[in-house]
Subunit: 182 residues, 2 copies
């Protein structure tokens, strides 16, 4: 593994309600100096859940995405709240977004979304043995829940509104993991 | 597909050299009004390339990521330059980052990284029939090229420094696509 660059300086260059942009001045092992901007996240990160209704059926959600300004089909996710464990956050999110809790929650992996400029990390949780349980969410409109067969993942990914890299990576990983333990 | 919310207003709330944060006020079909912040990208998006040295060997790169402040192992990628076609951008990026050009370039899909708050889109290109060709890049230090077998994707994803969702999603998609056409 190469030697990490040294951080010579660090300063906030922009800030809004949600975003905090920081500029880092770095000195690399070869003597090169450069400045990078990055977005600093909340530190607790997010959870992304693969809720399995049965061995082959995953529950997706269709929700408006303000970044791309269209409805996106993907896995339920949300920020981890203060004092919350990851599995606890995952269970809360699926109760809010798909109307189920899970008796079995397994940590799969941590994903990054854009490591070059976002500090943010997303923890992927596989949720099984579901039971109906709804918690009120903070969404501006009802979320549409869309059951999909993991055995038809190719057809899902071919859809124009299923584009989110984290959801797609997590669905493949869950499919591989479930087929190994089947 | 649900009816898209109406954009009531839009204003810039923060700006730095790299980032442009916009606040949208939205009116949903059910009458709910809400404000969202999003990062507005360059519009041209990025390319992420799956460069195959042979039917099973993909060329990964290990590069310092200022967002997560560690070295990350993933696929080569970069922003599309003005006036550049996507396949052309993909070929330039692999010449700069892995030292190969490709005689066969196939468009696989478009991925989003965080559709809730980023407008950004990444185009995934499968590159085959490679030949040695190097273009100078703009990286502060040499990029390490790491060949990996797609048949050992599980072991790759288990590594602590292979976390980027776009790279993982693209590797699974390429593996599935190549196994179908094999």
């Amino acid at each position: 593994m190469p030697q990490k660059p040294q951080i010579l300086s660090r300063r906030t260059v922009a800030r809004s309600r949600l975003f905090h942009v920081e500029e880092l001045e770095l000195l690399f092992a070869n003597g090169a100096r450069t400045r990078f901007e990055r977005l600093v996240g909340s530190g607790r990160g997010a959870v992304l859940i693969v809720p399995m209704l049965d061995d082959d059926t995953v529950l997706l959600i269709r929700e408006y995405a303000a970044g791309t300004q269209r409805y996106e089909l993907g896995l339920p996710k949300g920020l981890v709240e203060q004092g919350e464990e990851l599995l606890e956050a995952a269970n809360r999110e699926i109760m809010e977004e798909v109307g189920y809790g899970a008796r079995q929650l397994d940590y799969l992996t941590a994903l990054t979304v854009a490591p070059g400029y976002l500090s943010h990390s997303t923890h992927v949780i596989l949720a099984r043995d579901l039971y109906p349980e709804r918690l009120p969410g903070d969404e501006p409109e009802d979320i549409q829940v869309v059951p999909w067969k993991l055995s038809q993942l190719d057809q899902l990914i071919a859809l124009d509104d299923c584009t989110e890299a984290r959801s797609i990576a997590a669905l493949y990983m869950a499919r591989d993991q479930l087929s190994r333990t089947a």
